[in-house]
Amino acid sequence: MNFETIIGIEIHLQLKTKTKMFSPALNTSKAAPNTHVHPIDMGFPGTLPRVNKKAVELALIACKALHCSIDDCLHFDRKNYFYADLPKGYQITQDKRPIGRNGYVTIEVDSKEKNIEIERIHMEEDTAKQLHYTTFTLLDYNRCGIPLIEIVTKPNIRSGKEAAAYVEQLRNILLYLDVSDCKMEEGSLRCDVNVSIRPYGQVEFGTKVEIKNLNSISNVEKAIDYEVKRQKALLLRGEAVEMETRRFDEASKTTVLMRKKTSAVDYKYFTEDNIMPIQLDKNWVNQVISNLPELPHEKETRYQKEYGLSSYDAKVLTSNKPMMQYFEKLVTYYNNYKIMTNWLIVEVLGYLNKNNQTFENMKMEPKELAIMVKYIDEGKISSKQAKDVFEHLMSSSKTVDEIIKELNIVQISDDTTLLAIINEVLTEFSSSIDDYFAGKDRAFGFMIGQIMKKTKGQANPAKVNQLLKQELEKLKK
């Protein structure tokens, strides 16, 4: 029997704000436990929430970037449940009126584009972090109250590959827009996946299983692939898939049962009366979402159109934010986009990889790379010389001009000088002229070699080539 895989993904994303969602404590993951905690985060009696404006801005940006329609009146609700990591006994979230609805993210899998539909984006607050030990559990309230958005897809993901592509694309976009750190391994991007399968043609969904603890994109794919296999095997054995929560176990590359889901929990959602509905100013909303930086895929298209780059080059450039930023500076200095891109993708990336460096700590300024390419084009240096110059640019903070001077790199392109040397060689090696006319190709190369020898390799090869041919033509007549 053939089965269709149905996947929905819920992503919790910590927003990159200075302070927490509803309290003035700092939002930081890099501090000793319980050092950034306000009475509000502890749920002390009488404390009241105040909404973080920056968090709203970032949520709006996420909505815009993921093509959601925006609800410009903010409503908050309470999700009520008891849990050790939830000091108030409820979480402030948006139930009935999420800030964003009906968006999508475009992914590309096997060279085919697909829109993954987003059902909703809502704002909420993070819970305290639990650190489990064998006989006790510690709580870190630094995490309690960190602003979150939850991004929920519709169940229209059909494979582990698509799921991984979705998470990756989403991460790229939100990282670009500085909405979040998006670090899966540190928990600033947390991904829960709902997987079910059904025989092709069946309308009803199968029983879904939730997978938690996915701390990398590749694990998203692996976990789903394993889970689909597991569910298929169950169904083919005539057993039922049970509603449960599982986690991905990295060591065994399998999913492991965490808990069975018996009856659905009733969270008794109702309005958070401590925050009255906030009507967002339309102008402010527009201001927030209209100046968004260009997204990676938008850049990709523009690079092809504006700079005539291949789709491959455009993709490589935009897949890496620092490289993209470098490129955008580069193009302000010179216009041989294709060649500059080649240098970036081939030489620069190669050098960085080989030397374990990154764009962030790279020595070569965009301006210098641009000048170097320009000099090649102008014939001031040869491509071969450029490689030397490049090595120096990458290892020192010197300019192209300084390096050229230091290495004594000169290229003789002046016609008069070159013609004098060419004629000297023609006189000295007149027998080669006969060989050349007799059709011996090697004779031409020999003469070029002699010219280069006389100029200590500094003659502009293209120029020499052209002038030598021209002089030989004269002799033929």
């Binding site: 009475p39 009696p45 559990t137 109702f270």
Partner: protein
């Protein structure tokens, strides 16, 4: 001379004239508080050392023009007071010492008022009897066989007994205005959102209001001036300029129009009490005030009690979910976290509170929200719209704050089923909380030597007008006696 049962202005003048020192005042207040504690059980904590220390400090300073300078006060024990036990009169918080100060108490302390202690309330402010605090029943200083009402029972009793000239309470249904009536003092609940609730233990945030007891209306106006104003710690606190009304209320009431709601007023069952109130309204008319007995939709107003219970219990069950013993409070250890939370809450709350939580939980459950919770919200809106319609043509709605004097304690009574408790006459003041209206109770008539107050409720943000009307009526009542 006893200054503590005088007006703020009188005490202030005595301080200025050096007839009395702050220390003397505070000492006297503490002595009285201790005495009252023996007879009426008004206090959870009498904060003698802190109060005397502050008094000494103030005595080294020049008396400023601020009327609260050196004035002793009491604070309901559901305000978070830094470093001072704040129990909410519940066993679950019987050891809780907050690390931060509520906005209301810090404004009063900034004005150099001195807290002499924290007062008993009905557990977590849920209840109207003063019977359910974890440290015991609060009695009415006017007659210790009677209750004082609640939930701000201890604060009311302390002002009634002249321990302090004013005390902080809170009002979710009528928790200040009802006891004020039974104790014969002034209880004012300003417009919702005019005073920051930061640090007030939440019962039902959409109804909760910082409120207070004073001996007279002018004093209430002064406390209102100190407390009102924007606070960025409370998002439901209106971003409006601070209002100063004290100097501008003069009690001119001639030409005012007040509405008496017929279907509520006429249910006063005791003919003698009814007669007293009839007389009162006749006198009001003589002051040139238009008094209209107007008819209301009884069926709609009869839902006030159930609407109030549905909304307040629902909000309460969620607001008190933080009381699990994990971060603070009276933690009861059991096998594992879940069991400990269950043990903490089982032991920490009285039966009455648990009953309210069960009701609230039931109402908020998915299958009941639409037919109970949402419906109650709609009723609340309909009632508020109707009241606003009346207030479009009248300066205030004026009604007896209760239909009878303070009830006697009953033997083996079911405390949640007080006589008349479900009558509209005894519950109409929740209207003030439904609409966030400014609402004040002032002493009005006496029956068998015991007071019953009159309640005056006006449009939201018309605090000054309500105070002014109350001041006028107070002068009239005082003149008559």
């Amino acid at each position: 001379m006893d200054y503590l049962n005088q007006s703020l202005e009188t005490i202030h003048q005595a301080l200025k004239d050096k007839k009395v020192t702050v220390t003397e005042l505070v000492k006297e207040a503490i002595n009285k508080a201790k005495k009252l504690q023996e007879t009426c059980n008004a206090f959870v904590t009498i904060d003698e050392d802190n109060a005397l220390n502050q008094a000494k400090e103030l005595d080294n300073k020049e008396v400023t023009d601020n009327l609260l300078f050196g004035i002793p006060m009491a604070i309901k024990d559901n305000y978070s007071t830094k470093d001072v036990l704040s129990t909410g009169s519940s066993n679950i918080l019987n050891n809780y010492v907050p690390i931060f100060e509520s906005q209301a108490t810090s404004l009063l302390k900034d004005a150099n008022a001195i807290s002499i202690g924290k007062t008993v309330l009905d557990e977590l402010a849920m209840g109207g009897s003063g019977l359910t605090g974890h440290t015991g029943v609060v009695k009415n200083p006017l007659d210790t066989n009677r209750l004082i009402g609640g939930s701000s029972a201890g604060s009311c009793a302390a002002v009634v007994a002249g321990v302090i000239p004013f005390a902080l309470g809170s009002d979710t249904g009528d928790s200040v205005r009802k006891p004020a009536s039974l104790g014969g003092i002034v209880g004012f609940k300003p417009t919702w959102g005019r005073i920051s609730r930061y640090g007030l233990y939440p019962f039902a945030p959409s109804l909760d209001t910082v409120a207070f007891f004073t001996r007279n209306v002018k004093d209430s106006a002064y406390i209102f001036d100190v407390l009102n104003g924007y606070d960025n710690k409370d998002m439901t606190c209106f971003n409006l300029e601070k209002e100063i009304v004290y100097d501008s209320i003069n009690g001119t009431i001639k030409g005012k129009k007040i509405a008496v709601l017929k279907e509520i007023y006429e249910t006063i069952s005791n003919p003698e009490i009814k007669k007293e109130f009839d007389e009162f309204f006749e006198n009001v008319k003589k002051q040139g005030v238009q008094v209209d007995l107007i008819s209301i939709d009884k069926k709609l107003y009869d839902t006030i009690y159930s609407t109030y219970m549905i909304l307040s219990c629902s909000e309460a069950t969620s607001n008190n979910a933080n009381l699990d013993g994990i971060n603070f409070g009276n933690y009861v250890e059991a096998n594992g976290v879940d069991a400990s939370v269950i043990a903490t809450r089982s032991k920490g709350f009285s039966e009455l509170i648990k009953r309210r939580f069960v009701i609230g939980s039931y109402i908020l459950s998915k299958e009941n929200q639409e037919k109970l919770f949402i419906k109650a919200k709609k009723l609340r809106r309909l009632i508020v719209e109707d009241v606003n319609r009346i207030l479009d043509s009248y300066d205030a709605i004026v009604l007896p704050a209760s239909g009878n004097v303070a009830p006697l304690f009953k033997q083996g009574n079911d405390v949640d089923r007080l006589s008349d408790e479900y009558l509209l006459l005894e519950n109409h003041m929740a209207i003030g909380n439904f609409g966030g209206f400014p609402s004040i109770t002032i002493p009005c008539i006496k029956y068998q030597g015991l007071p019953i107050g009159i309640n005056i409720t006006g449009k939201a943000f018309k605090d000054k007008d309500v105070l002014n009307l109350a001041y006028g009526l107070e002068s009239m009542i005082g003149g008559k006696k």
